[in-house]
């Protein structure tokens, strides 16, 4: 409700009391009082008495008069204002329709009684069903089914890659042959023609595989949903569980026995801390510094590998819960034209069917459509500000009016990644991040703040952040550079976390800070040593025995 903040007025309170020598001459007191008066009138009386040295015997009288004055004036103030409004209404000087429409909208959009009745969406029904099932004995079956579906997709993907590889090889040979015979039996035109032909073939094959995959995914998704809903129904009525019959959609493998787990990234450098934040009341958080590729958190190996399935298990269990996991990816490209690392993420996501949300590339398309309008508005505004600030047009800084700019974030959600549900794509300007000296007001840092805030208000309790704001090591990233950058990021994140305590959202329980995987062990050690200096590491609890 927009109760317009009517301006307060000031009224003068007049008070007079007799002088001691003359009946006619009176002391006059004038006190301006703000109406409506916020504080207590009795306190005001005390101030007046002490400031103007008014005899104390007048205190009672003054109390009474001032209280009456304020009450009277407040009433008048409201009544006058309302009278004006009502008169305007009577004389049709007010846009009644507009006001009524405004109220109508307010009631309709915000109050249950007047809102349009909308049932639970399909999404929510499915979410509830899935959440219930993964927290039932059906969990294992579900994961098996999903894994088998994923394997089918993988097989198809492999076949596709194989096919394309073969085709490419064949084409290369063909081309080489032609080129060898150039000027003897072939002409340049023929080669060009062949190239065009080959390109077409490639496109054809890719298209065929693409549509085949799409079809597969769609069928899988539909079947998966149908199966889940059925299972839930059965589970609720008979509490019996059945596995779906073997279908061409899934590839059930016999119990994976001693298939040696592929050398996982278990040898990565990592160190964990439990820290305390806050000066009097302390909040506990976990911080983990680890040298790894953030994409490792995403990609799943759909082989029957116990450690992989346990990663998936955790993700599936918490998918519709309120302890989500997120990761921050830095990118230079807008969602419309994804570039690494977004494309790498897309590839990881495409390795199995997305059973819950729209496909990743579909999500990106939606995002770029939906952000267009607000971003354009914002960018134009910025441009104008920059121009008016700089006097002459210096607006070429913003390359495109419609694109997201540095520090903006777009967000995708996934159900089929290994350890994350939500990916924050933070748009950065790589060249400025390469340089050593960025400040806490750098857009990337501010973007980080927005990410933590969004995490907080959307129940993301575990988040992975690139500690150096870079995904790869490069030559300017010396050890000193790394320490300086890490210090900045850690300190800023610390500040944001302290701030987050007041936001009243979810607690950020775990923060993973990722270093590029190729970071030197010495650098890693230096950065890990930095953490206890910036954060207060909690003391271990000691159990004492009293003898």
């Amino acid at each position: 409700m927009t109760a317009e903040n009517s301006e307060n007025t000031t009224k003068t309170f007049n008070y007079s009391f007799p002088t001691c020598t003359s009946e006619e001459v009176q002391f006059k007191l004038e006190v301006p009082v703000e109406i409506p008066h916020a504080g207590s009138t009795r306190e005001l009386v005390q101030r007046v008495i002490s400031m103007f040295h008014i005899p104390v015997y007048l205190e009672e009288d003054l109390n009474e008069k001032l209280a009456k004055f304020v009450a009277e004036e407040t009433k008048n103030f409201h009544n006058e204002r309302d009278k004006k409004l009502l008169n305007q209404l009577k004389n049709s000087e007010i846009n009644v329709e507009g006001i009524v429409k405004g109220w109508e909208k307010l009631f309709k959009d915000n109050v249950m009684e007047f809102a349009e009745q909308k049932g639970t969406s399909d999404e929510e029904v499915f979410a509830a069903a899935y959440h219930k099932l993964v927290h039932s004995p059906a969990l294992e079956t579900i994961l098996q089914v999903e894994n088998s579906y994923a394997k089918t997709v993988m097989n198809t993907l492999n076949n596709r890659d194989e096919d394309i590889k073969k085709l490419t090889q064949k084409q290369t040979e063909e081309m080489e042959e032609k080129v060898r015979l150039l000027n003897t039996s072939t002409t340049e035109e023929e080669i060009n023609e062949l190239a065009a032909q080959q390109f077409e073939q490639q496109a054809l094959v890719a298209g065929r595989w693409g549509s085949q995959l799409d079809a597969l995914r769609q069928t899988q998704r539909a079947q998966h949903r149908a199966w889940l809903m059925n299972t839930l129904e059965e589970y609720q009525s008979t509490s019996a569980l059945n596995t779906p019959s073997n279908s061409p959609l899934g590839t059930f493998s016999p119990e994976a026995g001693g298939a040696a787990a592929p050398a996982a990234a278990s040898e990565r450098l990592e160190e964990s801390f439990t820290i305390h934040l806050g000066s009097q009341l302390k909040q506990t958080h976990n911080i983990r510094i680890v040298a790894m590729d953030l994409l490792d958190l995403c990609s799943v190996d759909h082989v029957d590998n116990p450690s992989e399935s346990s990663r998936r298990l955790g993700t599936a269990l918490s998918l519709y819960g309120s302890e989500l996991a997120g990761a921050v990816l830095l990118t230079e490209a807008p969602p419309r034209r994804p570039a690494p690392p977004t494309t790498l993420l897309l590839r990881a996501a495409e390795r199995s069917t997305e059973h819950h949300f729209a496909d990743a590339d579909h999500q990106l398309r939606t995002i770029s459509e939906k952000v267009q309008e607000p971003v354009e508005r914002r960018n134009t505004q910025r441009l104008q500000q920059a121009e008016s600030a700089a006097g002459s047009g210096n607006g070429s800084r913003f390359k495109s009016k419609r694109n997201l700019q540095t520090g903006d974030i777009f967000i995708t959600k996934h159900s089929n990644l290994a350890e994350v549900h939500v990916v924050f794509h933070l748009i950065v300007d790589d060249s400025s991040l390469r340089s050593g000296d960025i400040t806490s007001r750098h857009p990337a840092i501010l973007g980080l703040r927005n990410i933590l805030k969004a995490a907080c208000s959307n129940d993301i309790t575990s988040i992975s952040i690139p500690l150096l704001l870079r995904h790869e090591m490069s030559e300017e990233m010396t050890a000193a550079w790394c320490v300086r950058r890490a210090e900045l990021v850690l300190k800023c994140v610390k500040g944001f976390m302290l701030e987050a305590a007041g936001w009243g959202g979810a607690e950020l329980r775990t923060l993973h800070f990722a270093l590029p995987p190729r970071a030197a062990p010495a650098t890693f050690a230096a950065l890990a040593a930095l953490t206890p200096n910036i954060f207060r590491v909690s003391n271990p609890v000691k159990f004492r025995t009293w003898c």
Partner: protein
């Protein structure tokens, strides 16, 4: 049986979301904006103190996750909306009178109801009427802190619809309610838009009440309403607020025509006769869960957060996509006290009325730690009733209160008990009123800087209401203590008193004024170095007395108390611990007296002993820069033991507020320079003799032979 059933639901909760601040969250002072829910929480505290027979008492305001506010308040019977049978005119008059009395009281308190409607007027089987959740408009700062519109369309006055409206808008709503009671529901089945349009067209009517009746084809029925009642309705339904009657006039008019005598209901005895606040408190301790019932009635819906994830966030914080605001649901969740009743069913009736001079029962729970006792339903039940008795007799019961407080203090009455322990008596409101807390002074700047950093994790203290009150308290204290200046830390010292007396500024101030001379005499002098030095020297001597090994180590590495202990004592630990720990610390402090803090310091060191013994100077500095978790219960217990087992004279300080001793037997005062050089405390003659007599000490003469020979 019916009666009991009605009795079962003693309170109800409703919930809504506070408004989210869009975009960047920074105020003009560069600090983050206070979340709306915090503002609401702060404003609502005042409502918790309001008690009136025609108003449902507010019991609790809870801030949930993601800006959710839950309001818990008393309920009775059922709402007018739920009453299907029609009331007789006699009954209507009576209901109207009771509602008007409630509204008049609110108006005297400067609280505008604004949301008066048939579903928040409750009536019980005896015809008693109470207004429910009358403070929604007040706590949300005129609706500014929420995104939904307040009130129901058909009760809005014309000027309210035009975005104006003062206290007189309540008179209009009241008039509509009475009219509805006489001629039936108005504008039934109409959508908000048409209703509002109809109300606005009433401005052209001479007699809006008649016009409404005609509109509803009820004119005949309206004419049958007793004339006097009709007059009241018409006095309320005037278009111009200035022409409407005031509630005082309405109450007067209605009293004249009201003939119905309410049945005198005997105040229930036993559990149901206890204060509602106590019942609510015990119910929570017995496992009552406000959120669970809300969830069951689907008033709290948890849609999976992943489904409402935003799709993009721009640099300026503008969020695209994601959650749409939850709808405001007017329904209530009612709570039954069965849980508590069965928990306390074995309590014999006479236990509800403890006698002060009776020998008290011993409870097994006393042996348990304080934190556990504070969560034990039955223990708190007995303690609260007992303390209620004692507090009613204050100040005559002061010694009893002190004796009981030594065991523990029930959290619900801690504010009252502290005031009693500090000897706060008299007309504190008037004394506080007389102090000028508004006129700017030079220290304001420093106070403004410190307050937003003072115990801000506490939701009460971090809101604007908390900030404003804390500032007023500090200014008032400085003004009444001109010999003192503002030292940083005074804010932390004031915080616990404000926290416990949030709606009773005067008492918070009186407590602070009594606390400082008792525990921190002369600490806030402009030049307080001598006072602090003596205190720290004494603290060091106490450490040497009780923890000699540790003291030796700290002496060796030259880690002196000046490096860490000044904020401990200057703020009586309120700067180093969170509020929930301070209250336990101060519970003991207030009972034991000014010597205890020295031993509390030792108690803290003792808990860190192992770490300190193995640390050098630098590690020690680091350790104290951010104090690790301390077990306060343990610390308090040990410090009291130490305090009681130490001879009184060894903790003697020159700068106290206590009367000077003249007896040479009791004097231990030595020149300050000597004090600073001595590692061990001195003892006076009387303590020495009593120790000798009890055979509790061993005396070693370390004077050289030469010296003893000469004397």
């Amino acid at each position: 049986m019916y009666q009991e059933n009605e009795d079962d639901c003693k309170f109800a909760a409703c919930t809504y979301f506070a408004k989210n601040h869009p975009g960047e969250m920074c105020g003009s002072n560069g600090l983050p904006l206070t979340p709306s829910s915090i503002t609401i929480l702060g404003r609502a505290q005042r409502l918790l103190t309001i008690e009136h027979p025609n108003l449902c008492t507010y019991l609790d305001v809870i801030r949930g996750k993601h800006e959710r506010i839950i309001v818990v308040a008393e309920v009775i019977g059922k709402s007018l909306k739920e009453c299907k049978s029609k009331f007789s005119y006699e009954e209507v008059t009576n209901i109207a009178k009771q509602v008007a009395v409630g509204l008049q009281f609110l108006q005297d308190q400067d609280i505008v109801h604004r949301t008066l409607s048939d579903d928040n007027i409750l009536i019980d089987s005896n015809g008693r009427v109470k207004l429910f959740n009358y403070g929604l408009y007040y706590m949300t700062d005129k609706g500014n802190e929420v995104s939904f519109p307040l009130g129901l369309p058909r009760y809005l006055s014309p000027e309210t619809i035009l975005n104006g409206g003062g206290p007189a808008a309540d008179v209009w709503s009241f008039g509509i309610i009475i009219l509805e009671l006489c001629i039936g529901k108005l504008w039934n089945n109409l959508k908000p838009g048409p209703i509002l349009r109809r109300i606005l067209t009433l401005v052209h009517a001479n007699n809006p009440a008649e016009r409404i009746a005609r509109e509803h084809d009820c004119f005949e029925q309206y004419k049958q309403v007793p004339e006097k009642l009709r007059q009241v309705i018409e006095k309320c339904l005037k278009i111009y607020p200035s022409e409407r009657a005031t509630f005082t006039e309405i109450v007067e008019d209605l009293s004249q025509i009201d003939t119905k005598q309410l049945v005198e209901v005997k105040t229930p005895r036993g559990l149901m006769g206890c204060k509602l606040q106590y019942l609510y408190h015990w119910w929570q301790l017995a496992g009552g869960d406000i959120q669970a019932e809300l969830k069951k009635n689907s008033l709290v819906k948890n849609s999976p957060p992943i489904l409402s994830m935003p799709i993009a966030i721009l640099l300026d914080g503008c969020t695209i996509g994601g959650k749409s605001g939850a709808l405001f649901d007017r329904r209530l969740a009612k709570y039954s006290l069965d849980l508590l009743k069965s928990r306390l069913s074995h309590v014999p009736p006479h236990d509800f009325y403890p006698l002060m001079h009776e020998r008290k029962k011993e409870y097994d729970a006393v042996a348990l730690p304080k934190i556990i006792r504070e969560r034990d339903t039955e223990y708190q039940f007995y303690r609260l009733l007992w303390f209620q008795r004692l507090l009613q007799g204050y100040p005559y019961t002061a010694p009893y209160i002190r004796a009981e407080a030594e065991i523990d203090i029930p959290p619900l009455v801690r504010g009252d008990v502290w005031a009693a322990l500090l000897g706060v008596v008299g007309d504190i409101e008037e004394q506080y009123e007389r102090i000028d807390k508004e006129t700017p002074t030079p220290t304001d700047r420093q106070i403004d800087v410190d307050i937003p950093r003072c115990h801000q994790y506490c939701w009460l203290l971090c809101g604007s209401a908390g900030h404003r009150t804390l500032k007023r308290l500090l200014k008032a204290w400085l003004l009444t203590n001109p010999q003192y200046v503002y030292w940083q830390g005074l804010d932390s010292l004031t915080a616990p008193f404000l926290y416990l007396n949030f709606c009773n500024e005067a008492r918070a101030f009186a407590c602070l004024s009594a606390f400082v001379p008792k525990f921190l005499h002369k600490f806030f002098l402009k030049d307080n170095s001598a006072v602090i030095k003596e205190y720290l020297a004494k603290f060091w001597q106490m450490t040497a007395f009780h923890e000699p090994e540790l003291a030796t180590h700290l002496h060796e590495i030259n880690f002196v108390p000046e490096l860490f202990a000044i904020p401990w004592f200057l703020t009586m630990f309120s700067h180093v611990f969170p509020l929930h720990k301070i209250v336990h610390l101060w519970d003991a402090l207030l009972v034991e007296g000014p010597a205890l803090p020295l031993f509390m310091g030792v108690g803290i060191l003792r808990q860190l002993r192992d770490t300190l013994l193995s640390s050098g100077f630098n590690e020690c500095i680091l350790l104290f820069s951010d104090l690790p978790e301390i077990d306060i219960g343990e610390c308090v217990k040990e410090s009291i033991e130490m305090c009681r087992s130490s001879p009184r004279s060894i903790s003697y300080r020159r700068f106290t507020n206590e009367a000077q001793t003249k007896d040479p037997m009791d004097i231990v005062e030595i020149p300050m320079e000597v004090l600073f050089t001595e590692i061990s405390p001195r003892i006076n003659l009387s303590d020495f003799f009593s120790l000798i007599c009890q055979d509790k000490c061993c005396v070693i003469d370390i004077r050289s032979n030469l010296l003893s020979a000469t004397t």
